[in-house]
Point group: C2
Chain length 312, copies 2
């Protein structure tokens, strides 16, 4: 009987790179660990570094046919394989077979999916559930371990805005987003930040497996609230830029009346919401096509239950 | 008879954007000026804003088949048109017809070609000749007008390393490179810097046309000296990153023994040249495929002759 929430031993962990083929830190780390995995091995755990979208990596482009990190829908995963499928849909089905099936007991325990952003977000852990206490404890551990360097937690649990991620085939999906880094560029500082967070995450798993109990705690998180698009004309062309006072200010409060966009004529467009939001993914290159200038989040304190290893 | 070097009146100026389809400042400015050109009109001058690679702009990619900014070779420009040509070669032939022919008296007087870089180069004017006194006077004027903000002059006159640029169809080709800005991203600060430099350039042309004589002067420039590639393994994969002490330090001296690269194991690789160089295009995204981590330049003081309008 557990006083804490009990979770089974973590036996299989995957580290995904190249879900977007032009995000170079994760691609480089995963390729490095595939050659020599000593750094990511932990007692009793199978750690599998894996390039998820090799076609896009080869071309150094985000995707070939469609965004792999939106492709893990029930429809895609249940559709019969065949030559006519978009590359990433076919790939999603293969990844689901290798690391899932999604939602099943056979799925990998944990998947870390490594991403870069052009936004000035620093290191960010992305969770999909506010009630996955294993993941809440893990991000709490990582945040403490990286301090005083900050590591934000982004919670994408929004009923309409959440999406079917590559890592969602696992029981405990964790996205890691580190920036700013341009697409197609490898920066040593971003590379090292990402590498260190993966190290802390694996250390947590090893501690958990060893029987350490993690007491209740709280986690400061930013919950996805809404997407904000650029101002556009009737042809869909943008008519304003992110305002210089908002640019690079990810995670800082944006209050009603604060400048948000600047038109090409030099006019400011203020934020007109009804309270402070905390923007993230400000001016992310990949989100122009998704009609998103930034994502507005709200701060929230998440409660993590105590956890420990279930008796075996 | 001229005491100064005499040049004919500048009658036709083109402003090119989208030579690389993911460099958003020039694309946005040119699209804006095509809708409303008041800002770039000057007395007695035809100013033509023009998107050079619309196919690549549409896809937000550097190019479709081949780099347009390397395509203006005599071979390409003299090859017969036809359906089998790479998109950018066909496009180069069309641009040469519209704004050249390259090397002919019918060519446009001045072409400004607007580029962005992911490197921390600030604003940079790129010249192809150290003896084009019109251009030397123009960049001298622009440097003074933008001060105290710096505007570097990069001289690519190297017999092997120079390349056949889009702007080279004009009599006085000027490249403008502003960064840092990720590919596919429009930053307001970079947009405004580029806009201001084009304004100063057109003001210079108007002054010149009005009969103002520009006295002899000198221009501090950085001459392209050599390309430096990333360390790579036998498969061509990079094995080290730009060192954090070199990253973002464009135009600062790199001395023999200074750290240049950092291997994934954390080892430093020092610069082993025989004197200081001034790196530019450090960690530029588009240059990974060109096997170039940065371009090493040497400082040089160029002498500009006095110039004025030839009597008509
Ligand atoms: Zn990504
Ligand atoms: Zn360019």
């Amino acid at each position: 009987p557990c006083n804490a929430a009990c979770f089974p031993r973590v036996r299989r962990v995957a580290i995904f790179g190249g879900t977007h083929g032009n995000e170079m830190s994760g691609i480089t780390l995963v390729n490095m660990w595939m050659k020599n995995g000593a750094e990511v091995q932990r007692n009793g755990v199978l750690t599998k570094p894996f390039i998820t979208n090799p076609g896009a990596v080869e071309k150094c482009t985000r995707y070939i046919d469609t965004d792999l990190n939106r492709a893990f829908t029930p429809e895609n995963l249940s559709t019969p394989s065949g030559d006519g499928l978009p590359y990433e849909v076919q790939r999603a089905k293969e990844i689901n077979q290798l690391f899932g099936p999604k939602g099943s007991p056979d799925a990998y325990d944990v998947i870390f999916d490594l991403h870069n952003t052009t936004s000035n977000m620093g290191s960010t852990l992305i969770l999909e559930s506010s009630t996955d206490h294993f993941n809440l404890q893990m991000v709490h551990y990582i945040k403490k371990a990286t301090a005083p360097e900050s590591c934000a937690v982004l919670l994408n649990e929004h009923p309409q805005l959440r999406y079917a991620t590559t890592r969602s085939v696992s029981k405990h999906p964790v996205g890691l987003e580190v920036g700013p880094q341009p697409q197609g560029v490898l920066r040593s500082n971003i590379f090292e930040s990402m590498r260190m967070i993966v190290k802390h995450a694996l250390d947590f798993i090893e501690l958990f497996n060893s029987g350490v109990e993690f007491p209740t705690c709280t986690v400061e998180a930013f919950r996805v609230h809404e997407r904000v698009d650029y101002p556009r004309d009737t042809n869909g062309n943008i008519t304003a830029m992110v305002h210089p006072r908002l640019q690079d200010c990810d995670w800082e409060p944006l209050n009603p009346g604060d400048p948000m966009f600047q038109t090409f004529d030099g006019w400011s467009i203020p934020y007109a919401g009804d309270g402070p939001v905390y923007p993230a993914f400000i001016n992310e290159a990949a989100y122009y096509e998704k009609q998103q200038a930034f994502v507005a989040t709200r701060r929230e304190t998440l409660a993590a239950a105590a956890i420990r290893l279930a008796s075996e």
